[in-house]
Every structure is written in C-alpha cells, then in structure tokens.
C-alpha cells in the first residue's frame, strides 16, 4: 500500500553561495540547513512559507559538511562540522534564537572529526574520523567538553556515526563496509556487523534503540537488531548510493535519500517502499522527518545538490 505525500513548499537557492546543501537538521519548530557556504540557515517550520528566521553567518569559512540537532525539545542544542576541521556547538535560548556555545577541542590533528551525532538530550556528541577512530564527547561546558570514550576500529574511514536516543550505544559505518556498535556504558565493542561490503555512508538507530538501519554504495538499506547483531531485513530499490537515513518519531517509517536524487519512504512493518519522490537531478544529501506535531500530518524535508529545500506533507485521508 502506497502513501501519498504532497509538496508543501520549496525554497530555491537556499544557500546562494554554495552548490550543494549537505545537511538538514530539524527541531520541533525549526529546520536548520548547512551547505558548502559558511553559514547555517534556520527556517521556521510552523509558518506556511517556511521563512528564514536566523542565519548563523561565518560558522565555518570553508563550508559545512555535517549538521545535527538534539532530538528532545528541551535539549536546544545543535552541532556543526566544517571542512576546516572544527566542530562547533550551538545553543538555543527561550526565544528560539541560536548562538555559538563552544567548540570541541580535539587533541588529534585538525580535520580528524568527520561525521557527528548528538544524543537526544544534547549532552553527548559522537564523532568519526578519517583513520577510523570513533570518539564520544561530553558536552558539559564546565568540564571543558572532554572526550569520554575512544573506540579503535580497523582504520577504515568512518563515513557516518550515530548515537542511540537512550545514549547507550554508538554506531559507526566505514568505507570498507564495516559497521560497529559500541556499548557506551561498558566502553566496549558490542557488535561488528558485516553485509554491505561497499562504503557505508549513513546509519540511524530506531527511536526505541532496538534497530539500526544502514546504507551506502551497495544501494541497499540493511536493518540490524541492536541486541543480537543479526541482520533482520534488506530494503532494495534505490538506484544510487544511499546517502541519508532517518526514522519517523514512531519508528513506523524510514526515510532514505540517494545519490540518484530520489527519496523513498519505507514501512518497517511490511518491509516495503510506500513512496518515492524525486528532488531534482543532483545527489540528495539530506532527507529528514520533521518532528510530529499534534493535529498535523507527518512532514519531511529534502535537500541536496540542486540547492533547494522541499517540504512534503502526508496527504490527508
């Protein structure tokens, strides 16, 4: 059974100084976007025309490759990673205005933090690196935002990383196809998953932290059981590399974005693709659900190499 999503609005030339939008990150009332330009845009998702309400200028002079937000509404935190190698932490005040709140100071060489992820409460940040090291940082400012976990892998570039919402697991996807799940409480490797062989470019824990979805150059999306480490499903259908994955709030649906500019919505229960949307003819870097708002139907946003952000809403009935 397929589902219908309607285009609500499209922001063209969202980042005029860049070619590609590399990341989207939602909060309950906003969407943040980052690109090859130096600034972060903040859109109001409660208004019909999704206006830009804030621009965080000169965040990263060489462009921004990753941007994430903490899931919980009260967390009010975001983090951005730039091509110059820095990771900046952003905080939001009561009025919804963002400001810079510090930097992760890596003891390693600059440029060694690549993908980043925030815990739901915004207290922890996980990062991957080109040499395969996976780190977890406490974002406690009084303690100087120290590194609290350091996981060694076999040295393959960590292209993606995620933290489970309950904070107990870190997962990393690597260029050689490996996927690791680490137990943050014990500081040990919980599972070494295999099955994709090709570079793993995105992974995401389900809201209940029971499942892990992963995708990449193999063009399939693999679903793993976090407790057992078993692969429980394979979603096939994407014609290009899978670049982004995001679970809906209820865990019923998975949204995926691909290099071939297509986004797909998958129903977890039936393991079936229920909707496909094209977003121009350039790589689709970001595909994110907007948090569910009572009395409103589910929405998601797509962005990528065409420099446009499109907002979709589930068709009523």
């Amino acid at each position: 059974m397929s589902k219908q999503y309607l285009t609500l609005h499209t922001v063209d030339s969202a980042h005029p100084k860049a070619s590609d939008i590399f990341a989207l990150a939602p909060t309950s009332t906003q969407l943040l976007s980052a690109s090859g330009a130096s600034s972060i845009n903040v859109y109001d998702t409660t208004q019909a025309d999704f206006p830009v309400i804030q621009s965080l200028d000169k965040a990263h002079p060489l462009g921004i490759h990753h941007l994430v937000t903490a899931r919980e509404e009260k967390a009010r935190r975001a983090a951005s990673a730039g091509f110059e190698g820095k990771v900046k932490i952003w905080s939001q005040n009561e009025d919804g205005v963002w400001s810079e709140d510090g930097e992760i100071v890596d003891q390693n060489k600059p440029g060694e933090m690549w993908a980043i992820a925030l815990s739901a409460d915004g207290q922890y940040l996980a990062s991957s690196s080109i040499n395969g090291k996976i780190n977890v940082w406490s974002l406690n400012k009084n303690e100087g935002m120290p590194r609290i976990r350091e996981y060694e892998t076999k040295g393959s570039f960590g292209l993606c990383v995620d933290l489970s919402r309950n904070g107990s697991f870190t997962a990393s996807g690597h260029e050689n196809g490996s996927i690791y799940i680490f137990n943050n409480e014990s500081g040990r490797l919980a599972h070494s998953l295999s099955g994709l062989v090709h570079p793993v470019r995105t992974l995401a824990f389900s809201p209940a932290s029971r499942l892990l979805a992963a995708g990449g150059d193999a063009r399939i999306i693999a679903l793993y059981d976090v407790t057992s480490g078993e692969q429980v499903a394979n979603f096939t259908g994407h014609g290009g590399w899978v670049l982004s994955l995001d679970w809906s709030d209820t865990g019923e649906y998975l949204l995926s974005g691909s290099h071939d500019s297509k986004a797909k919505v998958w129903r977890i229960e039936t393991r079936a693709c229920v909707a496909t949307h094209s977003h121009g003819d350039k790589p689709l870097w970001g595909a994110k659900w907007l948090p569910k708002v009572p009395q409103k139907s589910e929405m998601f946003a797509l962005a990528g190499g065409n420099n446009a952000i499109s907002f979709y809403r589930e068709a009523a009935g």
């Binding site: 090859g36 002079p61 500019s261």
Partner: protein
C-alpha cells in the same frame, strides 16, 4: 661604460650615490633604467640569446625621473610591485649582482669575518592559503628572505652554502659566455653534490626571485617537457617550418620566437590535457585525424613547465578568440594543475609578470572542460516510481588518500577558492570530492560507449555552443 661602473652605481650605499653627479644619472639612466614597454626578449632560444644591447631599442626618448630614489636595495624589495619603474635587469646586471655576491664572500674571507652570508629571497615556502588582506589586491606575494651561512650550525648548512656557491659559479659562467644551460645540465655537473634535480630547481628559482628576474635571464631554461599536436603551422625565423599534424606522437613544445609566425586559421579550440597517457591515447585513436584537424592538443605531463605555458600564452595572444579548455583528473592535483595553467605558479610569481605588470604567462580565459563530479553520475532522471535505472557502474573511481584530503582542505583556503572568490566551481568540486571521498582519473571516460574521443568531441561541441548531435559525434569534426 663597463660593468664595473654599473656595479659602482648599483651597489654603492645611498649616501655615496648622492655624490654621483646628476649629469651622470641623466645621461645614463637610459641605459641603466630604461622602461620596458614589452616583456624582455623571452622567446629567444639558444640560437638568439638575450643580449644587453636589446634594451637600448626600447622606448627611446622616455626618461625616468631622477627624483626617483636609486637605492637598488629598495628597488629589489619593492621588486615586482613596482614593475612599471623597474630597471632593466639584463645579462650584465645579473652578472654584476652575482659578482657582487661572490666579492662579498671573498672580502669576508680576506678580512677574516667569522661568518659568510648570502641572503636569498624565496617564494618556495609560500602557498595560496591565508593571504593577508594587504596583499589580496597585489596578486604577487612578497618573497621571504633567508640567510645561507658558512660556516653554518651543521653539515646541512655547509652543504647549502656549497650548493649555492657552485650554482652561482655555473650561472655566472653561462652568463659571461652567453650560452644557455638547462637546469638538468647544472645537475649533471655535480650529481653527487646536488643529490637530486629538485635541489637545483629550488636554488635556481630562489636566485631568480632574489634578483627579481625571469629564470631565462639567468641564461637557464628547463628542458622542454610538454608535447603538442594539432592543425597549426609554425614558420620560424630561421626558415624551419613545423606542422602540428606531422608525426604520430606529437612534438616537443617549440619555442615561438618574436619573429616567428604561427598559423592558427584552422584551429577552433585548444585542449590542454593533464596527462601524457591521455594525450597519447588521443593521438593513437583512429579519430585523431578528424579531431586534430580542428584543434590543438597540448600536455605538459602534470604540473606545467614555463615553456608550455609560454607556448599557450602565445597562442592566446595570437588568437584570443580561440577557446582554450583544460581537461584534468577529478582530484585535488588536477584542479591545482589547472590553476597553474590559469593563474601560474604561486611560487614562481617572478616568472609571471612583465615589466608593464600584465601577467605574461597566465591563461585567464582557460575553461574547465572536465572531469567534474556530474560526469560520473549520468543517471536518467524519471518521475515514475518504477524507474529502476542503475548507475552505470564506472570502474576507476578511487578513494581519496589522506594526502588528497589534506591538499583539498588546503586548497579550500586558497584566495581563489574562498567564499566569494573567483573560482567557486573549484570550491564546490573540492567540497564534493571530500564529501564522497572519491576521485577519478580521465581514463574513466574510456569506459563510456565511444570512449574518450567521442566524449571529448561531444563536450567540445557543447562547450562551443555547437548544436551537437550525440548520435554522430564524428560529424562535428
């Protein structure tokens, strides 16, 4: 006026210069500091070496204001910023500078100074990154100075000094004999001393930078490196005629003399390819006769040498309407190589400017033909859900190395690639390379139906705005 007089004027301190008669300055400034309207005679080969007398026929009747300070040290410090007022630095001037350097050392030895010092200026350590705001408009960066001492603190410094003195001696010899040497010649005089070619190259470039002259004014050339082919003809002053369609492997990039004439009437485009392998594969393709009859193809085998850049610059000066394209690998080096063709080498900026301050070797109009990231993903885009089109699986995509990633990040800091800089497409392609962590060589296009030649035919056709018919690419040419 002989060389000694030159030296007296050039190398005496400012105070004593004031004691020189105004008459002397007035009468001789034409010879000492004539203003060059044209680039010095750089196109000469060994058959017609640079001579000092050549300077007297430039701009007769123009005078340098005597109010201008004649302090040569200041002159050379301002160096390239002050092109319009630069004295002609000919063979004799350079010889005199070298002799002054050596004389200082001899004096030092005679007077029993503890340390002998030669001060060199160098751009070798400069990069395009982090340009100070004050220099952003000046384009040519200020060189850095360093002292080479003897006896030095360690064996390395003693070796540096020996190498430099030996190179000075060889350069001086070739200047006084008025013969042209290649950098390779110098290296082979003492391979055991110089250890590797790059040592010679570095010191030669530093010397040219120190004197503020072109390397050719040290009577030094690099051996020709580039290859060129295509439908052009060069009538040389000495009666020789070169035709670019002759030969199956192209010719070494020729030197175009001032009085040579080059015929480009049948040339519709100039294609610069990064790699010799690509050049050779094009030359050996059955379609070459057709393709080559409409254009010129050149490769400098990687980062371009001065000779290849001079040749291209001459083509552009002769026929500015002919479009010029760069075809390079999709990796940080490919873009850096294209940058060297387009803007010149940052570290050899003293080679790059004529006395009238117009860039002598840059190719500002060269266009980037490929390879770009969208060439790798030619997926049909359809709105239908049933579309299961699979990316044509191109072999030859490679992962970036750690060095590639570092280089790409550094290049993003170049003044050319900063946000709002002149090369936004370079910035964007570098960012995408880092995001995908993938690079590709030009040979990847051989996998396409029709191979590289038909791809090039199509791209060149589209780039020129010709209505290209993909089904019959050969017809374009």
């Amino acid at each position: 006026m002989d060389v000694d007089d030159f030296e007296d004027i050039l190398f005496t301190p400012l105070d004593s210069q004031n004691s020189l008669g105004e008459d002397l300055l007035d009468s001789d400034d034409e010879i000492l500091f004539p203003i060059c309207d044209e680039e010095p005679n750089l196109w000469n080969s060994s058959a017609n070496p640079i001579t000092t007398s050549g300077t007297t026929d430039t701009s007769p009747g123009r005078h340098v204001s005597t109010a201008k300070p004649l302090n040569t040290r200041e002159q050379s410090q301002h160096g390239l910023n002050d092109q319009a007022h630069r004295p002609v630095r000919d063979r004799h001037w350079v010889t005199a500078r070298i002799e002054a350097m050596i004389e200082k050392i001899v004096d030092g030895l005679l007077e029993g100074h503890g340390v002998l010092t030669i001060t060199l200026k160098s751009r070798a350590a400069l990069s395009r990154r982090r340009i100070a705001a004050t220099e952003a408009d000046g384009r040519v960066p200020e060189p850095k100075e360093r002292d080479i001492n003897f006896p030095g603190a360690n064996a390395q410094e003693a070796w540096n000094f020996t190498v430099l003195v030996r190179i000075l001696e060889l350069v001086h010899g070739s200047l006084t004999d008025n013969t042209i040497m290649t950098k390779r010649d110098i290296y082979y005089r003492h391979p055991d001393l110089f250890v590797k070619q790059s040592v010679v190259d570095r010191y030669v470039d530093d010397l040219a930078c120190t004197f503020g002259v072109h390397r050719s004014q040290l009577n030094l050339t690099a051996g020709a490196k580039g290859l060129v082919a295509g439908n052009f003809a060069l009538d040389q002053d000495n009666g020789h005629q070169l035709n670019g369609m002759n030969g199956k492997e192209g010719m070494l990039v020729p030197t175009i003399g001032e009085n040579d004439t080059i015929d480009l009437t049948r040339v519709q485009w100039v294609l610069v390819v990064e790699k010799e392998a690509t050049f050779r594969s094009l030359m050996s393709s059955p379609q070459w006769k057709m393709l080559g009859s409409h254009g010129v193809i050149l490769t400098a085998k990687g980062y371009p040498d001065v000779a290849s850049r001079k040749f291209l610059r001459r083509l552009t000066d002769n026929a500015p309407h002919i479009p010029m394209y760069a075809f390079v690998d999709l990796d940080p080096d490919g873009i850096a190589i294209m940058s060297t063709y387009k803007y010149g080498s940052y570290r050899l900026a003293h080679e790059d400017v004529t006395p009238t301050d117009t860039p002598a070797l840059s190719l500002p109009n060269i266009r980037w033909l490929g390879l770009k990231s969208h060439h790798m993903s030619r997926t049909p885009v359809g709105e239908d859900d049933t579309d299961t089109a699979v990316l044509p699986h191109l072999q030859g995509l490679m992962r970036l190395t750690a060095r590639d990633r570092t280089k790409a990040a550094r290049m993003l800091e170049w003044d050319l690639c900063v946000e709002g800089g002149p090369e936004q497409s370079w910035r964007q392609e570098l960012q995408k390379m880092l995001m995908f962590n993938v690079k590709a060589e030009m040979q990847i296009l051989d996998e396409l139906p029709g191979g590289l030649v038909s791809w090039l035919s199509k791209e060149l056709g589209q780039a020129q705005g010709i209505d290209s018919d993909c089904s019959d690419d050969g017809m374009l040419f």
